[in-house]
C-alpha cells in the first residue's frame, strides 16, 4: 500500500509540473496549449534517447529535455505569432498528434510502438527498493524549484506584464510592452517545463511508448488547472493532486459497478473526466484557489 502511495505521489508530482506549465501559459498569459501531451512526450523521448542509446548521464538528459521542450515551444508559436489564439489551439493540438506519429514511425530513433524500455533511473541499482522513495523526494524537490521560480515570476514586473497582455494585449502594447516577445518567451518556458516533466516521468517508470502520450493527458491537466485555480501556482499544485486522486478513486469506483467489462470501465472513467471538466468550467471557473490581484505598487508620478 505504501509503495502504491509513493508511486501515485510521484505521478502527482509529474502532473504538478505539467499543471504549472499550463498555468503559466493559460493562467498568466491567456494563451492556450492543447498539445501539452506533445511537449511532455518530446521531453520524455529526448532524455530517454540520450540516456539509453547515447549512454549519457541523467542530469544531462533532464537539461536536454528542458532545451528540446523550449525549442518545440518556439516552433509551435512561430507560425501563429501574428494570429488569434484559436489558431494556436488548433496548431498545438496538431503538434501533439504529429509528435505521436513520429514516435510511432521513426523506429530507428524511438523504437516505434514498442516504446523505449530500460530507461535508467538515478542511483537505481544502489538504492534498490528505496529507489521509489528517493525519486519521490527528487521529483518534489524539482517541483519545489519550479514552483518557487513561477511564484517569483508571478510577483515580478515580468509577471504583471504577462497578466496585462492576458487582459488586453493592445493596452499592453501601447504601454510599450513587446507583446509578441513576452508571449513567445512565456510559451517556450512553459513548453520547457512540460518537457522536464516528461523526462522525469520516463526515468521514473523506465518505459515510454507513443500510447502513453494520448491527448487525454492534456485534458487531465486542463482539469487540474481549472479545478485548482487558474493564474496561481498553488492552484496548479492543488489541482494536480486532486486530479490524481480523482483518477485513482474512479479506478476503484468503476469496479463496483456491476457487470462492467474492462473496456466499458475505462470508457466510463474517461467519460467521467470529461464530465468533471465540464462541471468545473460551469460551476466554478475560477477554481478552488482563485487568483488574487495584488494592488498595484504605488507609482511616483
Amino acid at each position: 500500500m505504501l509503495s502504491y502511495l509513493v508511486f501515485i505521489a510521484t505521478i502527482g508530482g509529474v502532473y504538478t509540473l505539467l499543471a504549472l506549465s499550463l498555468n503559466l501559459i493559460w493562467g498568466s498569459v491567456g494563451m492556450v496549449n492543447l498539445g501539452l501531451a506533445g511537449f511532455f512526450a518530446v521531453g520524455a523521448y529526448a532524455s530517454a534517447i540520450l540516456t539509453t542509446m547515447g549512454k549519457g548521464p541523467i542530469p544531462l538528459g533532464l537539461v536536454l529535455a528542458l532545451g528540446v521542450g523550449a525549442l518545440a515551444g518556439l516552433l509551435a508559436t512561430f507560425s501563429t505569432k501574428r494570429l488569434r489564439d484559436d489558431y494556436l489551439a488548433i496548431v498545438t493540438l496538431g503538434f501533439a498528434e504529429v509528435v505521436r506519429l513520429v514516435a510511432q514511425n521513426e523506429i530507428w530513433l524511438t523504437r516505434g510502438a514498442d516504446g523505449i524500455s530500460g530507461i535508467p533511473g538515478p542511483f537505481k541499482s544502489a538504492l534498490g527498493p528505496d529507489f521509489n522513495a528517493f525519486y519521490l523526494a527528487l521529483t518534489m524537490a524539482i517541483v519545489g524549484v519550479v514552483y518557487l521560480l513561477l511564484r517569483r515570476i508571478d510577483a515580478s514586473p515580468y509577471g504583471r506584464a504577462l497578466r496585462a497582455i492576458r487582459e488586453d494585449p493592445q493596452v499592453a502594447a501601447v504601454a510599450g510592452k513587446n507583446v509578441m516577445r513576452f508571449k513567445t518567451e512565456a510559451f517556450a518556458l512553459s513548453a520547457a517545463i512540460a518537457g522536464l516533466a516528461g523526462a522525469l516521468y520516463g526515468h521514473f517508470t523506465s518505459y515510454i511508448a507513443p500510447d502513453l502520450f494520448q491527448p487525454l493527458i492534456t485534458v487531465y491537466i486542463f482539469l487540474a488547472v481549472t479545478a485548482g485555480g487558474t493564474g496561481r501556482p498553488s492552484g496548479a499544485l492543488l489541482g494536480a493532486f486532486l486530479v490524481v486522486f480523482f483518477l485513482e478513486s474512479t479506478r476503484f469506483v468503476v469496479e463496483f459497478v456491476p457487470g462492467v467489462t474492462p473496456l466499458r470501465a475505462s470508457a466510463l472513467r474517461e467519460a467521467l473526466i470529461g464530465v468533471a471538466l465540464l462541471v468545473v468550467l460551469r460551476l466554478r471557473p475560477q477554481g478552488l484557489l482563485p487568483e488574487r490581484i495584488r494592488p498595484a505598487p504605488k507609482g511616483t508620478s
Binding site: 501563429t80 488569434r84 486542463f222 473526466i273 470529461g274 465540464l278
Partner: protein, 280 residues
C-alpha cells in the same frame, strides 16, 4: 490523384460543417471528432440492422449527428461561450471525450464495416476506382450543392450569413442570434456526421474514426480560411490530394502529418487562408 480527388470531396463535407459553425459561433469546436464518429455509427446501425442502403443511411447520420451536436451544445457549451472562445474550445474537448466514450461503451473498440454491395472496380484507362468511392463522391457533391442552395437562396441561409458577417447588425435587423446559433450547430454537426459516415464507407469504422480525420478537417478549414465555406471546399481538395500524393511518396502513416504541415506552412505564409476573411 484520382483517389485524392475522392478523398478531398468527401473531406469537404465535415470541413464545411466545421467552418460554418466557426463562422457563426466564433470558436473551434473540437467535439467534431466525436460527432463524426456518432454519425458514422448512426448510419452503421440503420445500414446493417435495418438493411437501409448506404445512401439513405446518410440522412440518418445527418439527423442523429445534428441532434447530438445540438444537444451537447445546449447542455454544456452554450453557457460557456460567454467566458470566451478558448474556454468553449476546451469545453468542446471535454464534450468530445464524453461522446467518444459513450460510443465506445455501446459498440466496443472493434472495427466494423458497412453492408455494401460488392462490385468490381471501374477502370478509366490506367486508373481504377471503386463504385462505392464514385457513389460517395457523387453524394458529397450533392450535399455541397444542397448547402450552397440553403445559404444562397433561403431566408435562413441569408440570416446565417448575415449573423456570421456582423452579429450586431444582424440583431438590429431582427435576426435572433440564439436561433441562428442553434441552426448553425445542427446543420454543421449534421454535415460533420455525414462526413464521418462517408469517410467510414471507404474503409471501416471504430470509436476513433472521427478523431483520426480531425486534423485533416482542421487543415482543410484553416487552409481555405476559417469561416469561409468555399475556402473549406478548396482546402479539402488540396489536403485530400496532398495526402494521397504523400502516401505514395512518403509512407502512408504520415498521411495526417501532411495535412498538419500544410496547415503550418499556410499559417506562416498567409495566415488568413486562401479565401479567408479580410479582418484577422
Amino acid at each position: 490523384m484520382l483517389n485524392g480527388l475522392v478523398a478531398g470531396t468527401v473531406l469537404a463535407i465535415p470541413a464545411i460543417g466545421f467552418t460554418a459553425m466557426f463562422a457563426v459561433l466564433r470558436f473551434p469546436n473540437f467535439a467534431i471528432a466525436g460527432i463524426a464518429t456518432t454519425g458514422a455509427f448512426a448510419g452503421y446501425v440503420v445500414n446493417t440492422s435495418f438493411g437501409v442502403p448506404a445512401a439513405y443511411s446518410l440522412v440518418v447520420a445527418f439527423l442523429v449527428a445534428g441532434l447530438v451536436g445540438l444537444a451537447a451544445d445546449l447542455v454544456t457549451l452554450k453557457r460557456l461561450r460567454a467566458q470566451g472562445a478558448l474556454v468553449a474550445a476546451i469545453a468542446s474537448i471535454a464534450v468530445n471525450l464524453v461522446i467518444e466514450n459513450v460510443v465506445r461503451w455501446v459498440f466496443g473498440n472493434e472495427l466494423r464495416g458497412y453492408d455494401l454491395p460488392i462490385a468490381r472496380d471501374i477502370r478509366f484507362g490506367d486508373f481504377r476506382i471503386g463504385p462505392q468511392q464514385l457513389e460517395s463522391m457523387a453524394l458529397a457533391v450533392l450535399i455541397m450543392a444542397a448547402v450552397f442552395v440553403l445559404l444562397a437562396f433561403t431566408r435562413t441561409g441569408k440570416a446565417m450569413r448575415a449573423a456570421a458577417d456582423n452579429p450586431d447588425l444582424a440583431r438590429l435587423k431582427g435576426i435572433d442570434p440564439e436561433r441562428i446559433a442553434m441552426i448553425a450547430t445542427f446543420v454543421g454537426m449534421g454535415l460533420v456526421g455525414t462526413g464521418g459516415m462517408l469517410i467510414g464507407l471507404d474503409t471501416s469504422i471504430d470509436p476513433l474514426t472521427g478523431f483520426r480525420v480531425v486534423l485533416s478537417i482542421f487543415a482543410a478549414a484553416v487552409l481555405g480560411g476559417l469561416g469561409s465555406i468555399p475556402g473549406a471546399v478548396l482546402g479539402a481538395f488540396l489536403i485530400g490530394i496532398a495526402e494521397e500524393v504523400a502516401a505514395y511518396a512518403l509512407s502512408p502513416t504520415y498521411k495526417t502529418a501532411v495535412g498538419f504541415a500544410a496547415l503550418f506552412l499556410m499559417l506562416t505564409l498567409r495566415p488568413r487562408g486562401l479565401l479567408g476573411e479580410k479582418e484577422a
